[in-house]
Amino acid sequence: MALNPFFLQGSSSEQRLVQELINEQLKMYGVDVTYIPRKIVNRDTILNEIETSKFDDNYTIEAYVNTYEGYSGAGDILTKFGMSLKDELTITISKERFDDYIATFLSGEDTDEIILSSRPREGDLVYFPLGQRLFEVKFVEHEDPFYQLGKNYVYQLKCELFEYEDEVIDTSIEEVDTQIKEEGYITTLQVIGIGETALSSAVINDGYVRKIFLNNDGSGFTSTPIVQFDDSPVSGGTATAVAITTSIAGVRSVKEIVMTNAGFGYTTVPLISIYSGGGTGAAATCLIETTDQGVVSFAVNDAGSGYPVPPTVTIDVPSAGAVATATTGVGGTVTSLTLTNPGTAYTTAPSVTLSTPASGINTATATATIGTGGTVTALTITDAGSGYGSNPTVTISNDDSIKSTETASAKAEVSEGNVVTAIRIINPGIGYTAAPTVTIADPPLISGSGAFQFNELITGSKSGTTARVKNWDAGTRTLRISYVDGVFTDGETIVGAASSATYAVDFHTNDDVYDKYTDNDSIETEADLIVDFTESNPFGNY
């Protein structure tokens, strides 16, 4: 039977009136909530789940709290996974208001990120300011009340507290974003604020230990053994060294022996004793140099600061290299080469390289001839080149492979205070006639600056690792970070995207010491005292 044609079942003007009344009621009796749409970053199309999401928009809308007597749901409960807050909330928002003020903007977003914009979506967040809580929309009811005057005017959003994992919440509303400031997996990045370059000087002498041969690495060490050289015949000239051990398959043995002082005055090869440390069998011998001089020790004149990792140490070459200049003539060709320093100690003629003209082609070439005493006696132009607008620079090689001398090398040791504590001798070199200049590389950052901001992205200069700032403590120079996508390298510089704050990384620890549920670290610490993993450890470091 058809409807009575003499009665309207809801005209558009009536429907309009009802909608307006509802809008007005919501504005009078509602609460301003923040609607935060979920944006999809990555989706697993097989398991049908959103692997990564972000929440970086916000829309304020008035909502009526249906559960006016309090939250519904199971409340706060203790589960085997710790505290779980099962509060639920049902709110009502105007359909028209959503269409006009939220859906319109959502429809303009990237459709890969926002796959539905015409209605409130399950999975979106609602920030409820009274309880300062983030609720996730679990279900959207659009037919309650049921077709009053032939139309539905509101959405009911049935919400439950958000289960947080690693979603980025960056709505630009501080009150909302900071709600997860202490939630999720948070690790610690210790940074260095100020650095100062360390200074060192070298001492040269003869009768020193030229090289150490580790003949037997021994086994069974429980601590670092002592390395002792026979006394030098000259007082104060006894060489000293330290052993560096390594553990392979639970057996600790000597990996290498590094000199701290190469000694001086030795005329015969000293014996090396390796003892203590609980192990046996380690033995080493050495070579000495009695005629020429090498670097026998280093003094750390200024320990510097801000070194999270040992800096490189550069030592000047022992013998001067040859130096020459070039003169150009008509057509920009090289007409002559003038030797200004013949160098010393060459055993093979060095290579001669002239800089390339501005045109990038027709570079001049030349060769060198050496004479007795290892000096360069002549330079011969083999190709005059062309197109030089000015005199090219001449580079004559001076590396150890073509010389009778050898450049010393060393490595720096740094302490937990990030200062250089000692310089160890890797190779004392040979053929020094004067103490060479020692250059210790600058710390990663001479002066850190700025204050990191909450939620900003920081990036490591070397590793490219990124993370978001949860908290910055300028006093202790400690950053709490989250959303880390890799490993920050010790010594690299980190820069904040928003604040431009710049500091050098001292170290990064990946234990979350802030979450009160997490016991990984304390379990591991106790287990280290009782579990014996000398045989193997397939799970890694536990």
Partner: protein
């Protein structure tokens, strides 16, 4: 009868050892290009907790903004049961040395199985699969962990942790009033041992055995003729008392060895280099003639700089139960009629 206080914390240690297996599990999330977006070390905790403590620690802010953070793992002990298949003799004992080098008598431990449950709760199925895949391959179906169960005697036991079953709950069906819950549950059995009280033992190393042989069985007229004595001798250097160094490489057959100082050695001394024991037969100021591979050791090569130590009676006195040691034997012949007094330890 019962009631001798002891507490080795064995069950607690087993709980800790089991838990630490799972404290380095990670979950990674990628962006749409496959680049790692974030990496999470999965939080782990022992599930049961004091309620008030959990509340005040984990919910310091009463208005906590979120329900829970995921993923999480929890583990708990679910059962303790006797394992008859590993039963050993109830009167069987073994000797152990405590941290003060005293010999202790220990009854064989009693085999008990501890049931464990590892629960994994995640927000995404993919997270759960990442976690489970980092665990399962190591259990075939058991994974052994070596645990020092009794600290006082340094008793270490292999505890097989057996993966008994895996189950999971994925409530994705139904209405929208309940949220999907993804929980994987792994059941394990840790085959541990419970030790009773550790008692002092009068046992130790027998430092000397002495037997007098008599030529007659009549105790009134019999005169002892021969005395046999045996004492333990060290096969390693305990006191690091000398420390001369070889000044040459020594092969396996060389019997004259050069060293930097022979003053601390005497002819007939037993010296040790590495694991080889040698007997000194002659010496000069910087070399010694030795008998190689003495005391059933094997002659091996030694490098220049290797250290020599003498095995003296001081080393013999430092032998402790469990060490590898040899014996020194001697025979004495008597013509007097004296007897040995066990109480005064002299011949009278």
């Amino acid at each position: 009868m019962l009631g001798t206080y002891f507490y080795h914390e064995i069950v607690r240690k087993t709980v800790v050892s089991f838990g630490t297996l799972f404290n380095q599990i990670y979950v990674k999330h990628n962006d749409s290009s496959g680049n790692v977006e974030s990496e999470i070390k999965v939080p782990l905790a022992y599930g049961p907790a004091q309620k008030f403590l959990a509340r005040i620690e984990q919910q310091q802010d009463l208005n906590r903004a979120v329900q829970i953070t995921l993923p999480r793992m929890s583990f708990e002990m679910t059962s303790i049961s006797y394992d008859a298949t590993r039963k050993s003799g109830i009167t069987q004992t073994f000797k152990a040395i405590d941290k003060k080098s005293k010999v202790k008598k220990v009854f064989m431990p009693v085999p008990y199985n501890l049931g464990f449950e590892l629960n994994i709760m995640t927000k995404l199925n993919d997270d759960a699969l990442q976690i489970v895949e980092q665990i399962l391959p190591f259990f075939q179906p058991a994974f052994n962990i070596t645990v020092e169960l009794v600290n006082s005697i340094g008793e270490k036991r292999d505890i097989p942790v057996v993966l008994d079953s895996i189950s999971f709950q994925d409530d994705y069906e139904g209405d929208f009033s309940t949220r999907r819950a993804l929980i994987y549950t792994l059941q394990f059995t840790a085959k541990t041992f419970l030790f009773g009280p550790i008692a002092d033992s009068t046992d130790g190393i027998i430092r000397k055995v002495q037997i007098d042989y008599y030529s007659d069985s009549d105790p009134k007229t019999a005169k002892r003729e021969v005395r046999y004595t045996a004492t333990p001798t060290a096969r390693k250097d305990y006191d690091n008392d000398t420390g001369s160094l070889l000044t040459e490489h020594v092969d396996t057959t060389e019997t004259v060895i050069s060293l930097n100082d022979t003053s601390t050695f005497e002819v007939d001394d037993r010296v040790i280099i590495g694991s080889e024991i040698m007997k000194v037969t002659a010496k000069t100021s910087n070399s010694m003639t030795v008998k190689r591979g003495f005391s059933s050791t094997i002659a091996t090569e030694h490098v220049l700089g290797a250290k020599l130590n003498v095995l003296s009676t001081a080393d013999d006195a430092l032998i402790v139960p469990g060490d590898d040691f040899g014996f020194s034997e001697s025979l004495d012949f008597f013509e007097t009629g004296a007897d040995f007094s066990p109480t005064r330890k002299i011949d009278i």
